[in-house]
């Protein structure tokens, strides 16, 4: 049995890594909610949360605890099993995506070379797509299980939106893949470290990807599934307690992860420009890399929030038209042009 | 290759015609012209004039047999559209789409006649089947059509699953999808891998038996043929079914001999033949509706086409070609008359000989052809099928079983003739135009011509 001959050191190493990364992403997601409110307040010239702790820094913790200890209500007419499954699935998929993101180069500890990536698989991009597409089940199951017309409506909208934007998202990456020739995120970062950031080659691809990422996370201006003034609260309106918490949390984790992916794909990942990492010791280089990576991520998260509090919400038909009739042809055109140009230059 | 690509292209053209043209009549004309061009292109192909030079990497292998079969199928479809095209316009507003789907079905068929790889076999079967599911359900408001579509779809995709399993196992056993490579490599590990391959081939046989509705995998056929709009049943029961047999015989060509040491294909097929003939003929005898009778008769006819698989030789190939032509043309003709009838029971035909002599006369020729009476194409078709088996010198009892059932089949075919000519009645028909009559007469003439001088047409197509 191959399982018995396993390298247990590796397992422990990975376990630690996973624990760290997941905890980190949970914490970041928590503070993203704080950040969101602060940014909103800043944009609207308010103060935002400032009571709990210094600058209200303990606010997300308080929110979390409140949700945790709230009464949990499962409506009578709902489907109990699916009602619980929905948010669990949403959370699960959110937590699974980060497995293939390279957070930094390797560090050397206890004579081990530790890759700062949970799983370096050669089809990382496909893996991300696979897991992200599962996210739609969380929405759909939750909305359907609630047996509430608003929830169901919101879930249908959400599902349609998510799957519609998955197409241009997939297409936009193809042009990128044509340049890098690999589906592995690690290799992609390596090429960017050696050469230039992909954003220079693929500005349109990035734009499409970014728009789609917004839509995938159900962020404004594409937050149709949660449009309060049309649908009360959205697909999770029957939820309470930690189940609601999971849905909300998943959204912020998704935001974090998509920022990370964008940074990886288009902005060099943990690459620090104009810095030759090979002159530094690996551990220091790794720390600098992680810091750079997190910085890029935070910038993206900020952009997400910025957009949310700046742009009005799309109408549903506008949303669908943008996705199908705007982004898909654009992505295709991008693909063809990129291909032609690359081949021409190659000659 | 010409036909394969052009049929897809014409399909797309038809697709967009639905926006450009609102006139249903002109859609039909475009489709007819398209089919004619397709036919010409295919004949040109068989004369060595290839419009497309594409390296298929051994996925497709073109042969005279394939071309000829394509020609026959395309010609039959042309005839079908010319004779019954008008009826297609009755089901909803998506006339152009129906023609599109028909073109796509043809694309699948042309692929089935030249596949040389299990991948192309699978694709051909699916390209052929999926549009048919839609066509079956095209009468959206009709419950029967809905249910037929669902049943056909479930059965069809189930058989697809079986087929894929068969392909996977064959692949595991032989290490390749390519029929050519299989043939070349069979000596290498036949002794070891044959087990997987044989299970795989069995799965393939079963799934194709579903497609061609050979017993005991026929049970969906009557319901589906009955429920589908008659005009599409006509297409399904003829051209599509014949294509299934071509696909099968191509497979048997390559693999039967190679695996014959391990499994007695002939025995298997012979059981299938007997079951198919038995079920098809005996049940057809008890039907009250002509349409249902035709459904069962199509099962029975499938039984005859299976003879080609018993004896994979030249005569079987020729016979299958002729059978496909004879059976398709005759059935298309019968359905063309059927859709004009208000009452689809046998009684509904009473006295047709008086009120619509042309319809009745041509219908008689079609029925005689199906029954395999000399002077019609059906005779040579049956003749060659039986001859191919006699040629092998084995399973002679099966030939006798075949002719006994051929005699039984005369019973239900002649019931229609009796109703038309010898019973009193005043059948109600939809208005019949003279061009429709002309079409029927032309089809009947082809059938008789094929029945007297089959070589005249076949040679012309062939050489």
């Amino acid at each position: 049995m191959t399982l018995l001959t396993i390298d247990w050191g590796l397992v422990i190493e990975k376990l630690v890594l996973i624990a760290i990364i997941i905890t980190a992403s949970l914490v970041i997601a928590m503070y993203a909610t704080y950040g969101e409110r602060k940014v909103a307040a800043w944009m609207q010239d308010r103060r935002g949360p400032n009571r709990a702790g210094p600058f209200g820094l303990l606010q997300p913790l308080a929110d979390g605890l409140k949700l945790f200890f709230k009464e949990e209500i499962i409506p009578n007419t709902s489907n109990k099993l699916l009602f619980i499954l929905g948010p669990s699935l949403a959370m699960l998929t959110a937590m699974m995506t980060c497995a293939v993101v390279p957070w930094g180069d390797h560090i050397e500890l206890f004579d081990r070379k530790i890759n700062l990536q949970i799983a370096d698989i050669n089809v990382a991009i496909l893996y991300i797509f696979a897991v992200v597409s599962l996210g739609v089940y969380g929405i759909m199951i939750g909305g359907w299980a609630s047996n509430n017309k608003f929830s169901l409506m919101a879930a249908m909208r959400g599902a349609s939106q998510v799957i519609s934007y998955e197409l241009p998202m997939g297409l936009s990456l193809i042009a990128l893949l044509m340049i890098t020739g690999s589906l592995s995120l690690r290799e992609m970062v390596d090429t960017q470290i050696a050469g230039h950031w992909n954003i220079l080659y693929q500005p349109i691809g990035f734009l499409i990807f970014f728009v789609c990422a917004l839509a995938e996370c159900n962020r404004a201006p594409f937050d149709l599934p949660e449009a309060e003034n049309e649908l009360n609260m959205g697909y999770h309106q029957e939820y309470s307690s930690m189940k609601l918490g999971f849905y909300l949390f998943a959204e912020y984790i998704n935001m974090f992860i998509s920022s990370a992916i964008m940074a990886t794909l288009f902005f060099g990942g943990y690459d620090v420009p104009f810095l030759d990492e090979s002159t530094l010791s690996p551990n220091i280089a790794a720390v600098i890399g992680i810091a750079a990576f997190l910085l890029k991520i935070f910038i993206f998260i900020f952009v997400f929030m910025w957009i949310r509090w700046t742009l009005p919400r799309f109408r549903y038909d506008q949303l669908m038209n943008l996705g199908w009739k705007g982004l898909i042809p654009l992505a295709l055109a991008n693909l063809i042009i990129t291909g032609a140009v690359v081949l021409y230059l190659q000659q | 290759m010409n036909a394969l690509i052009l049929s897809a292209v014409f399909g797309m053209i038809m697709m967009f015609c639905s926006f450009l043209l609102k006139n249903k009549e002109s859609l039909r004309h475009i489709a007819s012209v398209g089919l004619l061009l397709l036919l010409i292109a295919n004949i040109a192909d068989s004369y060595g004039k290839h419009l497309f030079a594409i390296d298929t990497h051994g996925l497709l292998a073109f042969s005279k047999f394939g071309y000829l079969f394509n020609s026959i199928m395309l010609a039959s479809t042309l005839v079908y559209v010319l004779v019954t095209g008008k009826e297609i316009e009755k089901y909803g507003k998506y006339t152009a789409e129906y023609f599109t789907l028909i073109f796509f079905v043809l694309c699948g068929i042309t692929m089935l006649t030249c596949y040389n790889n299990l991948l192309t076999l699978f694709l051909g079967v699916e390209i052929m089947s999926i549009p048919l599911y839609i066509l079956t359900g095209s009468d959206k408001r009709n419950m029967k059509s809905n249910e037929a579509a669902l049943k056909y779809f479930l059965m069809g995709s189930f058989s697809t699953g079986l087929m894929l399993m068969g392909i996977a196992l064959t692949y595991g056993g032989t290490g390749t999808f390519s029929l050519t490579t299989m043939r070349l490599s069979q000596g290498l590990y036949l002794n070891v891998a044959s087990f997987l391959e044989i299970i795989g081939l069995l799965f393939l046989l079963v799934s194709m038996a579903f497609k061609v509705s050979a017993a005991p995998f026929h049970f969906w056929t009557p319901d589906v043929y009955d429920g589908a709009p008659s005009v599409f049943t006509s297409f399904m029961a003829t051209i599509v079914k014949a294509a299934g047999f071509v696909a099968l015989i191509r497979l048997f060509d390559v693999r039967m001999e190679a695996t014959a040491k391990a499994i007695d294909w002939q025995l298997l097929v012979s059981i299938m033949i007997v079951a198919t003939l038995l079920v098809g003929n005996i049940t057809a005898v008890f039907q009250q509706s002509v349409k249902r009778m035709l459904a069962y008769s199509s099962i029975a006819q499938a039984g005859f086409m299976l003879y080609a698989l018993m004896s994979v030789n030249d005569t079987a190939h020729e016979g299958l070609l002729l059978y496909a032509a004879a059976y398709s043309l005759a059935t298309i003709g019968i359905f063309a008359v059927l859709v004009k009838m208000k009452d689809h029971t046998f009684e509904g035909y009473n006295g047709l000989g008086k009120t619509q002599p042309v319809l009745a006369a041509t219908n008689t020729i079609f029925l005689l052809s199906l029954a395999g009476i000399p002077l019609t194409a059906g005779f040579f078709a049956k003749y060659l099928m039986l001859a191919s088996l006699v040629k092998t010198g084995t399973y002679l009892w099966l030939v006798i079983v075949g002719v006994i059932f051929a005699a039984v089949s005369a019973y239900y075919y002649f019931r229609v003739i009796q109703a038309m000519y010898f019973k009193e009645g005043n059948p109600e028909t939809e208005p019949v135009t003279s061009s429709f009559k002309f079409g029927l007469v032309a089809v009947a003439a082809i059938i008789v011509l094929l029945g007297i001088l089959p070589t005249a047409i076949l040679n012309w197509l062939y050489f």
Binding site: P75, N76, T77, Y127, S160, V342 | -
Partner: protein, 133 residues
């Protein structure tokens, strides 16, 4: 007939070990979610009333079951997604091998894009994506 092939052991396996961390993470995530669910269930107060357990409809009475046929549009979008997504999948192997395939591959992918567009234009023309009605 000798032993069927699939009972024999085989050549070197693929890169299954690469996926092991993912499995660990999955276990981890499932454990986390389940624990949280159980804990919150245990800690939360349980004072259920009839009103609480009813579905929420902004304060008015709820009318019937929510599981009624929805607009066909959503369904259509789902189906179209499935179709086009599968077409998109085909780009991936091409994209990875794009440079080695050269111009021939490019022409072929142009054809493929052509087919893609034919279907795409068709559904737009047919009004499958019309939401403004």
């Amino acid at each position: 007939m000798s032993i069927p092939y699939f009972l024999l052991d085989t050549q070197a396996t693929g890169t299954t070990s690469d996926y092991l961390p993912i499995a660990i993470q999955l276990i981890f995530a499932v454990g986390f979610v389940a624990t949280m669910m159980v804990l919150t269930h245990m800690f939360g107060p349980k004072r259920k009333t009839k009103d609480k357990l009813e579905t929420f409809a902004s304060g008015i009475e709820t009318h019937g079951d929510a599981r009624q046929p929805m607009a066909i549009k959503y369904f259509l979008v789902a189906i179209l997604f499935v179709l086009f997504d599968v077409e998109v999948i085909f780009f991936y192997p091409y994209a990875v091998n794009f440079k080695s395939l050269g111009w021939t591959g490019f022409v072929e992918i142009l054809l493929f894009v052509g087919f893609f567009l034919v279907g795409f234009i068709y559904i737009i023309k047919r009004g499958a994506l019309k939401w403004e009605d």
